[in-house]
Symmetry: C2
């Protein structure tokens, strides 16, 4: 079926294209009767107006875009609930976009937003993102932006984060107090400041409480579950096997548990495990998992609250600041 | 900052709007020199062309849209990997949209696609979706569509599904063979044919192997984790407590495990649990979880393969058929 366009409508109604266009935009220059005729025919012929045309003309799309890197991380499902709780009250749609940890996809999604598709953006960057030109460009277009969880420090906007350094320090110190002497930190990406802060906290705790901390304790993981399991398997087979592991993201937990099981290592007797995780499965795992749990819902809620200030107030100047909401260390059987 | 439009570019360059428009579209009618001038100014003024304009003119967007209901279900993360494996080979972008189980959001997302935003759509419907007008309208626009997992039977297109009735029958029969006599089925939505087929298989197995099956064994759950936990808690406190539970979706598992723990019910001694789940955590839960595991990756891959046939071949007629890929019952300690 041929696409119906505004020209077809104009021809059929014996009106000028300008008149039809104005009628579709509900312009006060056009009579109610004409508008009614135009809308009736548009409906009848199944005419789809370009949904972005109205926002290009300065109207609000009543939509905010949320860009997140991962589908399989409980942090984001909780954060989205926090975002939705604010958006619903404001009468806004929330559209969620997944970058699947791809920088190219993140660039592509943000470039689409530049045409006025959304009124504001909440972004948590991908593990591959090492430059921020695409984010700068979005900001230049005047589209309000708040970063949450995984942020880019150079971008002058509000960032909702948690106390990554301190909570990683606390987690590491907890393992040391439980007797661990050879702790490995499973890192997810050296591009991500959130990951690097967790590494910093880890190294600081090793340094403060265990002399002779060495960088070799940091293990670089990938975005692929199978590869990660092979990586973990390898470090667990070393003669100098770690007696403690810190998973810097939730998705590393299952590969670690499965590797321990495969090698018949007892958690927590042979090896103790802590994960940065918001998984509701933590208490019913075997053994139950000690976690650093982020205030995900609260972070989403705060990020959305600040974004809406900028979306709703024309002259609102988004503060360039970090808002830090602390995480909690929840001790369970995997370290006890 | 005022939005730069094509008119501004034309004025600045002393060219007609038509010439600038053609230059931006890389038309052969325009000289290389003119094109260069237009692109240089467009870059300098940070002009963003409407990204959909090109697709409205019939060009491919080289993007497929994947619309899924849930972020926190491993089925979808595996299915997406299957879809990506095909799209990457074809050089297409995959954009993922979440309806978060909302019919309104699903309608909104599909209505956007009608403007040529994507070249094809893979859809798994929301739990609220009870009519299919919005899907019909997308199809009328000539945009290829394949349904997967959660489908709508009336839509005449290819549907990639699993053997829901049979696998639910098998799961129920497994519980009966293990001695269960009072089995509850936790249902997620009576609108979803996938859910109803699982109910059908459940009732058929009760009827075949346990006389006196009654509809009261079906418990309607919601989309809210806390509400679900309260619902499960209530049925577990009944005098006539179930001795077996089938979770029709992955997300019901944790509420059930937590409720059993709260009431000090031993799994599998006091109560046996099976979930429809693709969670990688199943083997490391306490106890490890018996699952009906769907061929998620394969389903995503097959859905994408068929979609690309329609996207790439102009006269391809999408067959109106169900492609069924069977699920597996994986027996673990929660029923053993």
């Amino acid at each position: 079926m041929a696409e119906i366009n505004i020209r077809d409508l104009a021809k059929e109604l014996n009106l000028s294209i300008g008149t039809v266009s104005k009628a579709l935009r509900d312009s006060h220059e056009i009579s109610a009767l004409t508008k009614e005729k135009v809308f009736a025919l548009a409906r009848q012929l199944n005419y789809t107006p370009n949904p972005y045309a109205s926002s290009l003309r300065g109207k609000k799309s009543k939509t905010i875009g949320v860009v997140i890197p991962e589908i399989a991380d409980s942090f984001f499902s909780h954060a989205i609930k926090g975002i939705e709780s604010v958006a619903q009250k404001k009468g806004y749609h929330v559209l969620i976009y997944l970058t699947e940890e791809s920088f190219l996809k993140e660039e592509f999604i943000l470039s689409e937003f530049k045409s006025g598709r959304v009124d504001g953006v909440l972004l948590s960057i991908s593990r591959e993102t090492s430059n921020s030109r695409h984010i700068e460009e979005l900001k230049k277009k005047g589209i309000p932006l708040v970063l949450f969880d995984r942020t880019e420090e150079e971008i002058p906007t509000t960032k909702i984060i948690t106390n990554d350094l301190e909570s990683s320090y606390k987690a590491t110190h907890h393992l040391i107090k439980r007797g661990c002497k050879k702790i490995s930190f499973l890192s997810i990406s050296r591009h991500l400041s959130i990951n690097n802060k967790r590494i910093e906290g880890f190294l600081k705790a090793l340094n403060d409480h265990l002399a002779g901390a060495c960088k070799n304790n940091i293990v670089d993981c990938t975005n692929d579950d199978k590869q990660n399991q092979a990586i973990v398997h390898k470090i667990l087979e070393r003669a100098e096997r770690p007696d403690g592991i810190i998973c810097s993201v939730e998705k590393l937990t299952i590969p670690v548990y499965l590797s321990c099981r495969g090698l018949q290592l007892n958690i927590p007797k042979d090896i103790k495990i802590i994960s940065f995780s918001n998984s509701e499965a933590a208490p019913v795992m075997n053994p139950s998992l000690t976690t650093v749990t982020q205030p995900a819902y609260e972070m989403g809620k705060r990020a959305a609250t600040i974004l809406f200030k900028a979306v709703e107030k024309k002259n609102f100047k988004m503060p360039n600041e970090n808002i830090i909401i602390p995480s909690s260390l929840i001790i369970r059987n995997s370290t006890d």
